[in-house]
C-alpha cells in the first residue's frame, strides 16, 4: 500500500508523456526542419527563431498581441475538436466563423442606442447564433441524407465567402469614406468588447473574490474529510496538486486581465474551452456525443438519437466558430473586412490536432500558433526572413501530428494510444 502513490505518480508522468509526446515531438521536428530550410535560404535560424520568440513573448505588448492572436484560434480549435469527438470533420469552421464575424459587425454598427453591457454581448450572441445556424446545415445534411460533412462544409465555405463578399460590397458596405472599400462600417463604441474596462474590472474583481472564497471553502471541507479519514495534510496536498493548479488558472488569467495583458475575448475563449471540456466529460450530452463518435452502432443500441446528436454537435461546433469570429470583430478588428479572417478556420484544424482534440489542449496549441503569427513580423524585420516561413513551420507541425508514426519512431513513444477517429464515415456511404 505504501508504494501506491509512487507508482501512481510514475504512471501519471508516463500517461502525460504518452499524451503530449507526439505534439511536442512534432513541434520540435517542425522547428528543426524549419531551421534547415532557413539555413538553405541563407538565414541564421537561431537569429530568426529568437526574433520570433522576442516578437511573441518579448514584452507586455508582445504577449498581449500573442494572446489576441490566439483567441479566435482557440474557438476554432474547439469547434473542430468537438466535431471530431462525434466522428465528424468540420472543415467548415472557416465559413461559420466568417458568418459569426459579419453578423457581429452588423449588430455592432446597425443597432444603435444600446448601453455597452447590452450591445457588446448582443453582438457576440448574434454572431454565435449565426455560426450555429450555418453549422446546422451540414449537420442536417449528414444526419438525414448521409452527405459527407467534409464535402458539404468545404462547399459551404465558398458560399460564406461569396455571401460576405457581396454584403460588404453592397448592402452593408462602409459608405463613410471617400474611396469605397469592401468592408463594413466601424462598429459603435458600445459594441466593442473592452468598453467600460473600469466597470468590468470591478465586476471581475467581485467575481474573483467570490471564486476564491468558494475554492477556500471547498478546500477546507475536503481537507476536513481527508483528516477524518486519517491522512496527513501533506498527503492531501500531494494528492490534490493537480486540481489546485487548475483552480489557480482562472486567478492567473484574471490577474493578467487586470494588468491589461489580455482581452476579454481571451477570457471567454478559455472559459469556452473549460465549458466544452466539462460538457464532454461530465454531462450526458457529452457522453452521447462521444458515443456517437466512438461507435455509432452502439449509440443506436443505447437508445441515443444519432441524427439529433450529429446535428446538435455541428450546431455547437458552428456556435464556437461563430463566437470566435464575433470576438475577433468586436474585440480586435472593430469591423468586418474579409481579409482579416482568412485562414483562421483552417488554422483551427492544426490547433485541434496539436491539442490532440482535447478541449484544454487547444489553449496551449492556440497560444503556440498565435505566438508564431504575432512574432513573424518581428522576425521578418529583425532577421530578414520572410514571415511565410512561419506558415511552413506550421504546416510541418500539422504534417508530423498527422503522420504520428514518424514522431513515435523518433521519440520511441511506446504503446498505441487512442487514435482520434478522423476518418469515420469516410467513403462508407
Amino acid at each position: 500500500m505504501a508504494s501506491e502513490p509512487e507508482t501512481k505518480k510514475t504512471d501519471f508522468w508516463r500517461a502525460l508523456w504518452r499524451s503530449i509526446g507526439v505534439p511536442l515531438g512534432a513541434i520540435v521536428l517542425a522547428l528543426l526542419i524549419g531551421a534547415v530550410i532557413l539555413l538553405i535560404s541563407g538565414a541564421n535560424p537561431l537569429l530568426a527563431y529568437s526574433a520570433l520568440f522576442q516578437g511573441a513573448f518579448g514584452g507586455a505588448s508582445q504577449i498581449s498581441r500573442t494572446l489576441e492572436k490566439a483567441t479566435p484560434l482557440i474557438f476554432n480549435g474547439l469547434a473542430i475538436s468537438l466535431a471530431f469527438k462525434a466522428g465528424m470533420f468540420n472543415i467548415g469552421a472557416q465559413g461559420q466563423l466568417v458568418f459569426g464575424a459579419i453578423i457581429a459587425a452588423f449588430i455592432g454598427f446597425a443597432v444603435k442606442g444600446l448601453p455597452w453591457f447590452v450591445h457588446a454581448p448582443l453582438a457576440l450572441i448574434c454572431g454565435a447564433i449565426a455560426g450555429a445556424l450555418y453549422g446546422s446545415i451540414p449537420g442536417m445534411l449528414k444526419a438525414f441524407t448521409g452527405a459527407s460533412e467534409v464535402i458539404t462544409t468545404i462547399m459551404l465555405n465558398y458560399v460564406a465567402l461569396n455571401m460576405t463578399d457581396w454584403l460588404v460590397g453592397g448592402p452593408w458596405q462602409d459608405k463613410t469614406t471617400e474611396i469605397l472599400l469592401p468592408r463594413t462600417p466601424e462598429i459603435l463604441e458600445t459594441a466593442r468588447l473592452d468598453q467600460g474596462r473600469l466597470i468590468t474590472s470591478g465586476l471581475i474583481f467581485v467575481i474573483l473574490s467570490l471564486y476564491l472564497a468558494l475554492m477556500v471553502y471547498l478546500f477546507v471541507k475536503s481537507h476536513k474529510k481527508i483528516r477524518m479519514a486519517g491522512k496527513t495534510t501533506r498527503e492531501f496536498f500531494t494528492a490534490n496538486l493537480g486540481s489546485l493548479l487548475v483552480a489557480l488558472i482562472p486567478v492567473i488569467l484574471v490577474g493578467l486581465y487586470l494588468l491589461d495583458l489580455l482581452q476579454v475575448g481571451f477570457l471567454i475563449a478559455v472559459g469556452g474551452a473549460f465549458f466544452i471540456w466539462w460538457l464532454l466529460e461530465r454531462t450526458t450530452l457529452g457522453f452521447e456525443i462521444r458515443t456517437v463518435g466512438a461507435n455509432s452502432n452502439a449509440a443506436r443500441y443505447a437508445g441515443i438519437n444519432v441524427a439529433l446528436i450529429m446535428i446538435l454537435t455541428m450546431v455547437i461546433s458552428g456556435l464556437l466558430a461563430g463566437l470566435g469570429g464575433a470576438v475577433e470583430t468586436t474585440g480586435v478588428d472593430g469591423r468586418f473586412e474579409p481579409a482579416f479572417n482568412v485562414g483562421l478556420g483552417f488554422d483551427g484544424i492544426t490547433i485541434s490536432l496539436l491539442g490532440k482534440t482535447h478541449p484544454l489542449g487547444n489553449i496551449p496549441a492556440a497560444i503556440l500558433i498565435g505566438s508564431m503569427k504575432a512574432g513573424s513580423n518581428t522576425m521578418q524585420f529583425e532577421a530578414g526572413v520572410p514571415k511565410e516561413i512561419v506558415d511552413v513551420v506550421q504546416a510541418l507541425m500539422l504534417f508530423f501530428v498527422a503522420a504520428d508514426m514518424i514522431v513515435r519512431y523518433v521519440l520511441r513513444i511506446k504503446g498505441k494510444e487512442e487514435k482520434v477517429s478522423l476518418t469515420s464515415g469516410w467513403g462508407q456511404h
Binding site: 461530465r282 454531462t283 450526458t284 450530452l285 457529452g286 457522453f287 458515443t291 466512438a294 461507435n295 452502432n297 452502439a298 443506436r300 443500441y301 443505447a302 437508445g303 487512442e418
Partner: protein, 505 residues
C-alpha cells in the same frame, strides 16, 4: 490410383484472444473436386480460408500444394501457388470496366504503357475458354451482381488459379443466379479447376459438391459426400450431436403473458423479406428458444424486436402495451434487456472504460446522472459492484473494454443488461465464440433471470444451447416460425428436419 491432393492442410491451429478459431484442422482437396466446407458463422471456416490464402498466419500446422509444403506470408504467395479467392464482398472498382478490373494489379504493358487492347483480348479468350460469359467493356456498376461474381472468378483465373475459394458465393445471389453460378462451377471443374465452396446452406451444398467437410467450433467434425448425406444429417453435424453442456434448471412456471408479437414482417438490408408474418408470445418465467440455421432471418427478427430495425408490418405488445418499433430507449424504459448478436458492433464501445460501458443504456437515468450532470461516483460504484457480482476478469473498472477477452466482454454486456429490472430479456447468440467456462456462467444467468420471473427470448444457432436452455422451442426457417413445441417433445431429429425446411404433415 493414389492421387496427390492439390491442396492439403495438416494440423492447422489458430488462436485468437479468447477463441481457438481453428483447432487441429486436417483437410484435403483433390484435383477437379468441388469441396464444400459447411459450418455456422463463427465455426472457423473463414479463418481457415484466410490462413490458406495467406491473410492470417497459422500458429501450427502446414499447408501443402501438390504435395509440397508451402510458405505463405501474404496473399501474393498464395496467388503464386495458384490459389484464388472470390470474397463474399466483391473487391471490384465500380467505375472500371470488366477488363480493367480483371487485369488490375497485373496489367498487360508494352514499354511501360498499358496495353488495354491485348488485355481485352486475353479476357475475352479466358471467358470463352471457361464458358464464363461477360462483356469485357461493361462497367461493373452497370452489370448485375451475378455477373460481377463471374468477373471475380475471372480475376482469379486470369492469375492462373488452379484452386478457387468461393466464400459464401450464393449469399448475394437470386435463385436464378445461383443456378447460373452452379453451371459455371461445373464448367470450371471440367477444366480441372479445384474448388472450395464455403456455405451454411444445406441444399446448395448437397446440390453442387463432390465432398463435404463440416466444421463446428473451430474443429472439423466430419467429412461426407452428398450421396451418403442428406439435409438432416448435415444439420445435425453442423449444430452438434454431442451434448457437452447440461444446465441445471427447474421446470418452468409460466405466468402472465409478457410479450406478444403479431404478424411481424421485417426486410433485410438487401430489401428481401427476412421475417415473414411471424406471430408468437412469451410468458413470464419461461424461455422461448428460436432454433434455426443461421441466415434464416434471425438477425433481422431480433433487430426488429430490440428496436434497431424498423418492421414493415406487425405489432409488438409488451405487458399489454403496444411498443413502437425502432425506438430502443422505449424498450429500455419498459424493462426490456437485449444481449446483441455482435458484441463489438452493438454491445460495447470498445474504446470506453468498463465504467462507461456498464451504463451504456442507462447513463441518463439517476443515480448515474442528475439532470445533465453525470455522477462519476455512482457509475464507478455500479461498475465495481457488477464486475464482482458477474465475475468479470479485469484488473479494474477503468480499463477499456477492448482489452478484455471475448468471454469477459460478453459478461460485461450480460452484467449491464441484467443489472436493471428485467421483464423481457432478448439474447441472440449469447455464447458464440466463448470458452466453456463463460458459456456455463452465461447460461446459468439466463436461467436465473427466468426464475426471477422474466420472459426470455433466446435465439441461437447452437442446437445444444437451444435444447438445454429453452422451455419451448420454435424453429425459424426462411423467415417463418415453422413449428413451436414444448422442450419435452423436441428431439434433435425433429428439430434438424424442421431446420432443414422439412415439415412433417
Amino acid at each position: 490410383m493414389n492421387q496427390v491432393p492439390v491442396l492439403e492442410v495438416r494440423h492447422v491451429s489458430k488462436q485468437f484472444p479468447g477463441v481457438l478459431a481453428n483447432d487441429d484442422i486436417n483437410f484435403s482437396l483433390n484435383k477437379g473436386e468441388i469441396h464444400a466446407i459447411l459450418g455456422e458463422n463463427g465455426a472457423g471456416k473463414s479463418t481457415l480460408l484466410n490462413i490458406i490464402y495467406g491473410l492470417y498466419k497459422a500458429d501450427q500446422g502446414e499447408i501443402l500444394v501438390d504435395g509440397q509444403p508451402i510458405e505463405l506470408s501474404n496473399t501474393q504467395d498464395a496467388i503464386r501457388h495458384g490459389i484464388g479467392m472470390v470474397h463474399q464482398h466483391f473487391m471490384l472498382v465500380p467505375v472500371f470496366t470488366v477488363t480493367e478490373n480483371i487485369v488490375l494489379g497485373s496489367e498487360v504493358t508494352r514499354n511501360g504503357m498499358l496495353n488495354m487492347k491485348e488485355a481485352r483480348q486475353k479476357v475475352t479468350e479466358l471467358s470463352k475458354r471457361f464458358g464464363l460469359e461477360v462483356d469485357p467493356d461493361a462497367l461493373i456498376e452497370e452489370i448485375p451482381v451475378g455477373v460481377q461474381q463471374r468477373v471475380e472468378i475471372l480475376k482469379a483465373l486470369y492469375r492462373d488459379a488452379k484452386i478457387l475459394f468461393l466464400d459464401e458465393p450464393t449469399a448475394v445471389l437470386t435463385p436464378q443466379e445461383v443456378g447460373d453460378l452452379f453451371k459455371v462451377i461445373e464448367q470450371l471443374r471440367e477444366r480441372g479447376v479445384s474448388i472450395i465452396f464455403i456455405s451454411h446452406k444445406l441444399k446448395e451444398v448437397l446440390a453442387i459438391s463432390d465432398k463435404i467437410t463440416v466444421m463446428r467450433r473451430g474443429k472439423v467434425v466430419g467429412s461426407t459426400t452428398p450421396r451418403e448425406a442428406n439435409e438432416r444429417i448435415l444439420a445435425e453435424m453442423m449444430v452438434g450431436r454431442d451434448v457437452i453442456l447440461t444446465v441445471d434448471k427447474e421446470p418452468a412456471r409460466p405466468a402472465e403473458k409478457v410479450l406478444e408479437v403479431k404478424d411481424l414482417t421485417v426486410f433485410s438490408d438487401q430489401k428481401h423479406k427476412a421475417v415473414d408474418h411471424v406471430s408468437f408470445d412469451i410468458r413470464a418465467g419461461e424461455i422461448l428458444g428460436i432454433a434455426g440455421v443461421q441466415g434464416n432471418g434471425q438477425s433481422e427478427f431480433v433487430e426488429a424486436l430490440s428496436g434497431l430495425r424498423d418492421a414493415a408490418e406487425g405489432e409488438m405488445i409488451l405487458n399489454g402495451q403496444r411498443m413502437p418499433f425502432k425506438h430502443p430507449r422505449a424498450l429500455v424504459e419498459h424493462a426490456v434487456s437485449h444481449v446483441p448478436e455482435d458484441r463489438q458492433k452493438h454491445g460495447l464501445v470498445l474504446s470506453y472504460s468498463l465504467i462507461d460501458n456498464m451504463v451504456l443504456c442507462t447513463y441518463y437515468q439517476p443515480p448515474f446522472a442528475k439532470g445533465f450532470n453525470r455522477q462519476n461516483d455512482a457509475m464507478r460504484e455500479n461498475a465495481e459492484r457488477l464486475i464482482k457480482q458477474f465475475d468479470v476478469r479485469t484488473p479494474n473498472a477503468d480499463v477499456k473494454a477492448s482489452t478484455l477477452s471475448g468471454g469477459n466482454q460478453q459478461k460485461v454486456i450480460v452484467a449491464r443488461e441484467l443489472s436493471r429490472p428485467v421483464k423481457l430479456l432478448i439474447v441472440n447468440q449469447p455464447t458464440r465464440g466463448l470458452d466453456v467456462g463463460s458459456i456455463e456462467y452465461i447460461h446459468s444467468q439466463i436461467v436465473k433471470i427466468r426464475d426471477e420471473g422474466a420472459a426470455v427470448l433466446l435465439v441461437s444457432a447452437e442446437l445444444d444451447e437451444i435444447m438445454s436452455l429453452s422451455d419451448r422451442i420454435s424453429v425459424m426457417y426462411h423467415g417463418e416460425l415453422v413449428a413451436t413445441m414444448d422442450v419435452k417433445e423436441a428431439t434433435r431429429e425433429k428439430l434438424g428436419l424442421l431446420m432443414a425446411g422439412v415439415t412433417p404433415d
